[in-house]
Symmetry: C2
Subunit: 156 residues, 2 copies
């Protein structure tokens, strides 16, 4: 499987979040060409600001490997990571990060700030941005459009 | 209770981590002058790179309030936060952050980078650094000294 195929799996996770009325973001963790963990955003369901797709996926991946060091893994996520998720990716020693659409508000790979321009003293990673960008961005747009319509419906 | 008194409670948490052979970092979350959640580093025990003291404390705090938005709370942590924890603190809408000793390698409030110099588009917070700095730093030094002695003992 190539990057697009794995990102389609991350998009499947994002759609699970969408179906639960969560901001539709998904992630999969890959080792040796196989998906070893999946995650989708569950902040509202779990009432936990740390329950981003990437975080849940990293925790599940560490569980699968019985090791918090996720050496040689690639994380695919549908959105440019926020500061928390980028930090967790660094802390987990993920080898490579592939993301889909930019998060123009709080993304830290060029949108809000470019965290990765700073050489990290412990770990640095390869990054491939904007894989299946249009699909991820469209899913986000559809979600927020529906949220607005719901609000308008409640206000009339 | 003042900042020093709450930091002493965070230090108690750090000592729990120390007793479990974890890097001794602790945190408490305070609302209206009361501690509503506690956490200590458990990365090795849980084999989860996201299980920093601050993260576990924020998740516990959200559980206590049944709300991921930790409005009007103050987080006390014994060490300058890493990128992941700083991001989680922002995501959680913590009002104020008080930390103890600088983390000269990966701290993001001036040590590795100064994340908070960038105005965040959603949330910004008050920060009070270096409360009971000497106590927190000494606990870390003692821990790493013991770790080195263990390694030397194994190597002889």
């Amino acid at each position: 499987m190539n990057d697009e195929a794995f990102m389609r799996e991350a998009l499947k996770e994002a759609k699970k979040a969408f179906a639960k009325d969560e901001v539709p973001i998904g992630a999969v963790l890959v080792l040796d060409g196989k998906i070893i963990a999946r995650g989708h955003n569950q902040v509202e369901l779990l009432q936990d600001a740390t329950a981003h797709a990437e975080m849940l996926c990293l925790t599940a991946g560490a569980g699968a490997l019985s090791n918090w060091r996720l050496a040689d893994t690639t994380l695919y996520c549908t959105l440019e990571p926020c500061c928390m998720c980028a930090g967790a990716i660094l802390n987990s020693r993920v080898k490579r990060l592939v993301w889909g659409a930019p998060d123009l508000r709080v993304g830290v790979n060029g949108s809000w700030i470019d965290l990765f321009k700073n050489v990290h003293p412990i770990h640095n990673l390869e990054i491939t941005p904007r894989i299946l960008e249009a699909e991820s961005a469209e899913l986000m747009r559809t979600f927020f459009q529906k949220q607005r319509e719901k609000k308008e419906c409640l206000n009339t």
